[in-house]
């Protein structure tokens, strides 16, 4: 029996070596940065002291490689962020979920990269995105961004049910995101329920290509919650609008969160960019499906001169009619490089139209 165990042990070692080589060369396993909840500001972000660049791959064949880079502030961006004291030009903060996090495409093809390019160096663009986030998280995130980087304009990306998911009454949607709950006549902010720590064990395991392949590419877990849920927003269909019964709490919750944003950041401008229903456009639907949350948001921003909304639906519709090209990648949901470019251009046009950014000279 000892001989059998020894032989089996040697075989398993050989197998592990072969598999490591295989998943580093033949089918490259995905590599993703480590995440943790920063105890200083209670914001979930990437660990900039660990591996800061890599390639995200998808599926069992390790396809669609996309390069990422964690900057010194712990965000996936090709730019390094400087503190508010070192501010040299206007700053635009992009707050969003996995669309802004941007793992499906190369880091230099994200909205922030294109927007920076479009601004012609007249503004810095700082992106703060994590998968699965929603409006209540952006309220907390804006406080963090304000304190550290003092942006002049907040561009906040919304999709799906970002107001509904903000309410704890609808359950915990993302364990590393803030939510709000009704408290008497008003609302109260709730901190993320899980304090994720990037443990030495996780760091060690992630060195292994086999582990990364099994967890990241095959998405098999050992029954525990992973700190990195990079595709929490990935829902079938890719449509932004899921017609739903509007909760009676939706409007007061949206009013509360917009009010918080405006009052906590006096003098700042806000642009809400609301994703459209791309599937409806691809399907050739002439009429846009209902989007209850957009209506709620429109009512919530009324009376706030410094808060505007950019609805991407007419943008998508016009660009698709012109180019006949989809905006999303192979996952059928997140923008590909082209989609990122289209959105960046739309945001840039909106900001220059509002004279929040000067128009480009060229």
């Amino acid at each position: 029996m000892v001989k059998f165990a020894l032989r089996l042990g040697v075989f398993l070692f050989v197998l592990a070596v072969v598999a490591e080589v295989f998943f580093r060369t033949i089918i490259p396993a995905t590599s993703l940065p480590g995440s943790y909840m920063d105890p200083r500001d209670e914001i979930f972000r990437f660990d900039s002291t660990w591996v800061t660049s890599g390639t995200n791959t998808h599926g069992r064949f390790g396809l669609r490689p996309a390069a990422w880079r964690v900057n010194s502030a712990g965000w996936n961006s090709q730019f390094d962020y400087t503190s508010s004291q070192e501010k040299e030009r206007p700053r635009i903060a992009l707050l969003g979920d996995s669309f802004i996090e941007g793992f499906p495409t190369d880091v230099d093809t994200h909205v922030d990269a294109y927007l920076h390019e479009l601004a012609g160096g007249q503004a810095d663009v700082y992106a703060f995105g994590r998968s699965g986030w929603y409006l209540a998280q952006y309220v907390a995130l804006a406080r963090y961004a304000e304190q550290r980087f003092a942006p002049d304009i907040y561009v906040i990306f919304l999709n799906y049910q970002d107001i509904q998911d903000s309410l704890r009454e609808n359950g915990v949607k993302t364990p590393y995101a803030y939510q709000i709950t009704q408290d008497g006549a008003g609302f109260r902010e709730l901190e993320p329920p899980v304090r994720f720590v990037f443990t030495p064990r996780s760091k060690l395991l992630r060195r292994s290509a086999i582990v990364r392949y099994v967890r990241g590419n095959l998405r098999l877990t050992w029954g525990r919650t992973e700190a990195v849920v990079e595709d929490a927003n990935l829902r079938p269909g890719g449509g932004a609008a899921e017609a739903q019964e509007a909760s009676p709490l939706l409007q007061p919750a949206a009013d509360h969160m917009i009010e918080r944003l405006v009052t906590e950041h006096p003098g700042r401008d806000f642009l809400f960019v609301v994703d459209g229903d791309r599937d409806a456009i691809y399907a050739g639907d002439a009429v846009d499906p209902p989007r209850p949350e957009l209506d709620v948001l429109r009512r919530a921003v009324q009376g706030h001169a410094n808060v505007r909304i950019l609805d991407l639906q007419p943008v998508y519709r016009a660009v698709y009619a012109r180019d006949r090209r989809r905006f999303d990648g192979a996952d059928g949901n997140h923008w590909d490089a082209y989609g990122n470019r289209v959105v960046a251009e739309a945001v840039f046009i909106a900001l220059t139209a509002d004279q929040q950014l000067p128009p480009r000279q060229d």
Binding site: M1, K3, F4, R7, L8, F11, V14, L15, V18, A19, F22, I27, R60, F61, Y213, V214, L218, L220, W222, G223
Partner: protein, 478 residues
């Protein structure tokens, strides 16, 4: 607990080490059996601890009946003991498996003839593997009654025999007279046999995870929307199901037998390349053998078997296959499937055909035209019958079969091509090794580097191309 689960990856090494260490520490067979019972009950409890008593109850019924049957009492008493044992065991099986079905059928029938009866919705939990371990246990009192086996006084050995986790949930259904003596003696570790067992487990895993679980979603999807499919696609789906079911169940059996070898136990063969059969009679000698032989020995032969006049033999065959169908589940689809397989046997009986005992194209690579034709015909008959087996209702089966013949047109769905290649790869691999107990067996003859490279390649293929976390074993539901 499933064989293909993370829990089992932890469970198996623990059980394996505890078992062999217990055997070495001087406890002998009893210590090994105690470990095996503990492991098996833990394995079963992991699924649902509430029904553990049922496994214990069936085991106790079997053990006590054996002792009573062994006593030197008169034939009437012995018969009464046997009948009581059968009534108790089959009563439990019948209640959990068929009571709801009979109540539903009765209610429907009464309502059909105009009676106003309330509909009772019974939600009886079907205990995992109940049909398998009940049938395995029943071989014991039946064999003792027939004086083909002696009763044992070793309750520990009997409990281990009745509950061994490898065969608990989906067989193979062993015979007490073959298995029980193995539990009564101390098992010695055999390095070559353990390696052979691991190899067979690997092959079972390949069939399950790579083939069956990849085909399952296609089949499920097609049966959900067969109304819009054309004949050719439906035929391909029917073939996919035939391969899926075979890969799933024979994969389970290979894993069970392989695990048995790891624990020093010889479990009965359950599959012998059934799709390479030249007749439906031969098919049933090669498909789910432990069960079809059970039916032959304890139903068909007691009815008179083949040594009766032809009409009676036909009747015996039909009754046996009706039992086969009903054993699979409380649904009319299984009844029709069983009877259809019975009907398949009738031409052979009427023509006085004998079932070949050798392997097709023995000693040759290519079968003769006649053999190939017979094999293809048998396969298609099996595919046709599996439609009833897979369908959720008779109406669905009729709908699928109807479209087989009435919806020509439309080319083959291109998405099916890789899966056809997968099926072909499995069948070609099995054809080449059809004289072996299982397909990978001959790897043992290769030099270590080649052998290990093959294992690595298979395991990596499993990881990359397998369907992980997919469906449970099909036969576990029976």
């Amino acid at each position: 607990m499933q064989f293909v689960s993370q829990a089992f990856v932890v469970f198996l090494p623990l059980a394996f080490v505890a078992y062999w260490v217990a055997g070495r520490l001087g406890g002998g067979a009893t210590a090994q059996n105690v470990v095996l019972i503990a492991a098996s009950y833990a394995f079963y409890a992991y699924w649902d601890v509430r029904l553990l008593w049922l496994l214990a109850a069936i085991s106790v019924i079997g053990f006590v009946s054996g002792l009573l049957l062994e006593r030197d009492s008169g034939p009437a008493t012995r018969k009464a003991v046997l009948v009581t044992t059968l009534l108790l065991s089959l009563g439990i099986l019948g209640f959990f498996k068929y009571f709801g079905f009979f109540l539903d059928s009765l209610t429907s029938a009464l309502q059909g003839v105009g009676f106003s009866t309330p509909s009772y919705a019974l939600n009886i939990l079907l205990p995992l593997g109940l049909s398998f371990y009940t049938f395995q246990m029943l071989t014991y009192p039946l064999d003792v009654y027939r004086r083909q086996a002696h009763a044992t006084r070793d309750a520990i050995a009997f409990l281990a025999f009745a509950s061994f986790f490898a065969q608990l949930t989906a067989g193979p259904i062993g015979r007490a007279r073959e298995l029980l003596p193995q539990y009564q003696a101390r098992r010695l570790f055999d390095d070559a046999r353990a390696r052979d067992g691991l190899r067979q487990v690997l092959w079972g895993l390949v069939k399950k995870v790579l083939v069956a679980d990849n085909l399952a979603p296609l089949v499920d999807h097609a049966y959900g929307g067969y109304q819009s499919m054309h004949s050719l696609d439906l035929l391909v789906i029917a073939v996919f199901f035939a391969v899926q079911l075979y890969a799933d169940f024979s994969g389970y059996s290979d894993m069970a037998i392989g695990l048995g070898k790891l624990f020093g136990l010889r479990l009965p063969t359950n599959f012998a390349y059934p799709y390479f059969s030249r007749s439906t009679a031969e098919f049933w000698r090669r498909w789910h053998m432990s069960f079809s032989f059970w039916i032959r020995d304890y139903v068909y032969i007691p009815l008179g078997g083949s040594r009766v006049r032809t009409p009676r033999r036909v009747f015996n065959v039909l009754v046996s296959f009706l039992c086969v169908g009903i054993w699979h589940g409380a649904d009319w689809t299984f009844v029709v499937w069983g009877l259809l397989n019975g009907l398949y046997q009738i031409p052979g009986i009427l023509l006085g055909r004998t079932t070949p005992r050798d392997t097709i194209a023995h000693g040759r690579l290519i079968p003769s035209l006649r053999e190939a034709g017979a094999m293809l015909g048998t396969f298609l008959l099996a595919v046709l019958a599996w439609v009833f087996f897979r369908a959720d209702s008779l109406a669905q089966a009729a709908g699928v079969l109807g479209r087989f013949f009435t919806s020509p047109g439309g080319g083959l769905e291109t998405d099916y091509v890789p899966y056809l290649a997968l099926c072909a790869a499995l069948l070609v691999g099995e054809w080449l090794q059809r004289e072996q107990p299982y397909t990978l067996r001959q790897l043992r003859r290769l030099p270590v580097p080649v052998r290990w490279a093959s294992y690595c390649a298979l395991l990596l293929t499993l990881l990359v191309l397998g369907a992980h976390g997919a469906s449970p074993f099909v036969y576990v539901q029976f």
